[in-house]
């Protein structure tokens, strides 16, 4: 199969190019198969444009269903069959770099100088990956809802305090106008949990792992601040302020729009329908500040070069081609996500000054905190997700967090500290 593919590609390339130069094939793996949306079409377009723009390299694209993508890369690494160019989710990149799935990008730093910090993947002092966009999360609601219940509209400079936020939720719940005041998206199990909910933990003063050494989570994930977070978290579900782990995924999609929920904690990829439905009434608000500042997650999918690639020059050329401003804008317009530079944002429909989603760019710039930059993240993310789920279902907060800390610490130890 590969043989036939190579032959076809080679023949095709020869027919197209005016000179008889042999092209080297570059393989690119991308997540998102079956998404049937603009993103897939844009990646195809990007590949086509690159192939047409030069004659040394020919990029061949292979897509995977998103949830199976990381597993596919793992299995391919075992077989020594990694592609040349990899698409990698930001927080996973350190693990892949540590395991030698990826090599340093070797890109001219001037090209990425004004990129949002969350879009650059650094590990061990080197840049391994760079992304065309970042994702941001905000509280989505309607101005009319807040006005109805006499709730202050927070700003990035002055977000709600924890008490204000809790009070607002209780007022809305008491009115009985909605099924739940807040939708956290518990139906989206997987990476959403650590991405969307660790900022709350950080706002309380805790964290998934101690970032000064990355050797332990003791005191950070089960200290007083973390326990305070855990109890607040549990309270949301106990007091019916938010739907829990049994939430129907379909209702998550439409709940805010149909009036089931007053507020939704959701990402900018879901923002456009909200703008469409509510127009000027739509509000995208920063997260509450529980004492340690208001933060949101950062880092989405990024491109990098695989560790075993022999064509790193070509791969780097492709990535430098991909991060041109016009593509940053194009992807943003197509997916609704935050483009990596302010300049590109100015060219997009949504993020230009005065655009409906402009606030997400500001949120990302002001409040984004990447998830822990460590190869151990793969395990600690799963452990944290389970802890959140268990606490939401009523498990003892301190014991659950203790267990999570133990598991994370043990994993770090078994891996000799993960190279920190």
């Amino acid at each position: 199969m590969k043989h036939i593919l190579k032959t076809t590609v080679a023949i095709g390339a020869m027919l197209v190019s005016t000179t008889a130069m042999a092209q080297t094939e570059l393989s690119l793996w991308y997540h998102g198969a079956g998404s049937a949306n603009a993103e897939e079409a844009l990646v195809n377009q990007l590949v086509e444009d690159f192939n047409a723009s030069q004659s040394d390299w020919n990029v061949v694209l292979e897509t995977f269903p998103q949830l199976a993508y990381n597993d596919a890369v793992g299995a391919a690494a075992l077989a020594g069959e990694l592609p040349d160019i990899l698409d990698v989710d930001g927080p996973i990149m350190p693990n892949w770099a540590w395991a030698n799935y990826m090599q340093p990008l070797g890109i001219d730093e001037a090209l990425i100088a004004d990129f949002l910090p969350g879009t650059i993947g650094r590990w061990d002092g080197e840049v391994y990956s760079v992304g065309l966009w970042d994702a941001a999360v905000a509280i989505m609601t309607r101005r009319s809802t807040l006005e109805k219940y006499d709730i202050r509209v927070p700003t990035i400079a002055e977000p709600w305090t924890g008490d204000e936020f809790n009070a607002a939720l209780e007022v809305i719940a008491a009115s009985g106008d909605f099924d739940y005041p807040l939708d956290l998206g518990m139906a989206w199990t997987g990476e959403w949990y650590p991405y969307a909910f660790s900022p709350f933990l950080q706002s309380f003063g805790g964290d998934i792992v101690d970032r000064s050494t990355y050797q332990s989570a003791e005191g950070v994930l089960n200290g007083d601040e973390a326990i305070a977070f855990g109890e607040w978290w549990q309270g949301l579900f106990e007091n019916n302020l938010a739907p829990g782990t049994s939430q129907d995924a379909a209702v998550r999609e439409t709940g805010l729009l149909e009036g089931n929920y007053a507020m939704a904690w959701n990402g900018n990829w879901a923002a456009l329908p909200v703008v469409e439905k509510f127009g000027d009434d739509a509000l995208f608000l920063p997260a509450p500040d529980f004492g340690n500042g208001s933060t949101i997650g950062a880092a989405s999918w990024q491109f990098g070069i695989s560790g075993t690639s022999e064509n790193s020059d070509g791969a780097r050329e492709f990535i430098e081609f991909a991060i041109q401003q016009k593509y940053l804008s194009a992807f943003s317009d197509g997916t609704g996500l935050v483009p990596s530079t302010k300049a590109a944002a100015a060219e997009t429909a949504n993020y230009q000054p005065g655009g409906p989603l402009e606030v997400f760019f500001d949120l990302s710039e002001a409040q984004a905190l990447v998830r822990p930059v460590t190869p151990g993240y793969v395990v600690s993310a799963k452990v944290f997700e389970k802890a959140l789920s268990d606490i939401a279902n009523g498990a003892d907060v301190a014991d659950t967090l203790d267990a999570a800390v133990d598991e994370i610490n043990e994993d770090i130890e078994r891996n000799s500290g993960y190279g920190h």
Binding site: G74, G244, T245, V378, V379, K382, D399, N415
Partner: protein
């Protein structure tokens, strides 16, 4: 004479060779590899070299400890009662974490406990999730095996009638067997959906609204049971057919003789049918048991081990650790333990059901 045996020898090895080779290469060798991995700290992807760790993985999974928790006492030595009227105990984490006086408790968590006078006896486990997976797997097997076998027998008796179109019913009852368990799991997620799910609606309809909708998969008390029901639904047709053929090999003359002697239907079943089905029963029970231990897809598609580990099972844990958390040695350890358990149960079953001459 010698050449005939030699010929037989060569032919035997030649014919059985491919099968033996394939099974050795793809089943036996990986199995021993799994055992070997369980004695190391092999990872799925790591720049660190693999080290031999002996039985550390097993200790980490199976370690247990017993501890007596004494109630808090005030200055007079009286037991402190908290606001709910319950005896107040110090938090277990004071003993298990950072407490040099109790090294054997370090890192363990409470598995379960009970009241003993004023004290609480606590059983701690090094890996509570594994223990829960163990218990859940056993629960699943020991409920599903007899229930599925019994339901299948009931269906077989129902089908074993000479009625027109009976083969249509037989075909319909068997149908779920050919459908993939993944497909079945996805469909039953709708049936079990909380609030307005199909099952809740059905029960509400039949009880004229008296029935409260339940969150079947989201409630730790009903999650495993729901998965059991679904698994039985899918597999029962297969065993119904095996029972059926067993039933049909019982000679009709035996039934005639019994009814001549005045036996009613129930006595006929007990003295004619049941003894005749003995062999079939043994086969069915053994097969269902082995299949039940391999429970995985339903958990992966429907509950991911939750809620609160109520549907955590051994194979799911093995895959999650080995593949999801990149800990091949941990996953392999669970696999080896699973094999030992299944082997023991099979041997016990064979012993209990052996032919008593």
């Amino acid at each position: 004479m010698a050449t005939r045996i030699d010929q037989s020898n060569k032919a035997g090895w030649l014919m059985a060779g491919p099968g033996i080779f394939l099974m050795t290469a793809f089943i036996i060798v990986p199995f021993f590899l799994a055992f070997a991995f369980s004695l190391t700290n092999q990872r799925l992807a790591s720049p660190n070299a693999t080290e031999y760790v002996g039985f550390d993985n097993y200790r980490g999974l199976l370690g247990v400890a017993v501890f007596t928790l004494e109630p808090e006492r005030d200055d007079a030595g009286e037991v402190v009662i908290d606001d709910d009227g319950e005896i107040s105990y110090p938090r277990l984490r004071n003993f298990t974490r950072n407490n040099p006086d109790y090294p054997n408790l370090a890192g363990k968590r409470e598995w379960f406990s009970w009241q003993w006078g004023d004290d609480r006896i606590v059983i701690l486990a090094a890996d509570v999730v594994f223990m829960k997976a163990l218990i859940n797997t056993f629960t699943f097997v020991f409920v599903v095996a007899p229930v599925q076998a019994a339901v299948a027998l009931g269906l077989a008796l129902l089908i074993n009638q000479k009625m027109r179109g009976i083969s249509i019913f037989r075909a319909l009852y068997f149908m779920p067997v050919v459908v993939s368990i993944v497909v079945v799991s996805l469909l039953w997620r709708f049936i079990y959906a909380p609030g307005d799910g199909l099952l809740n609606n059905l029960l509400g309809f039949f009880s004229f609204g008296a029935f409260d909708p339940r969150d079947w998969l989201g409630n730790p008390n009903t999650a495993l049971g729901s998965i059991m029901a679904m698994s039985i639904w899918q597999g029962v047709g297969f065993h119904m057919v095996i029972w059926l053929s067993g039933l049909q090999t019982i000679s009709p003359t035996l039934y005639e003789a019994a009814s001549i002697e005045g036996a009613n239907k129930r006595q006929q079943f007990r003295y004619v049918t049941w003894p005749g089905l003995r062999n079939t029963a043994v086969l069915i029970l053994i097969v269902i048991t082995m299949q039940a231990f391999a429970l995985f897809a339903q958990i992966d598609v429907m509950t991911n081990g939750g809620p609160l580990d109520s549907t955590q099972v051994l194979v799911f844990q093995a895959v999650e650790r080995g593949y999801g958390k990149q800990d091949i040695s941990g996953g392999s350890t669970i696999s080896v333990l699973l094999f030992v358990i299944v082997l023991s149960i099979s041997l016990i079953q064979r012993y209990l059901t052996r032919e008593k001459n």
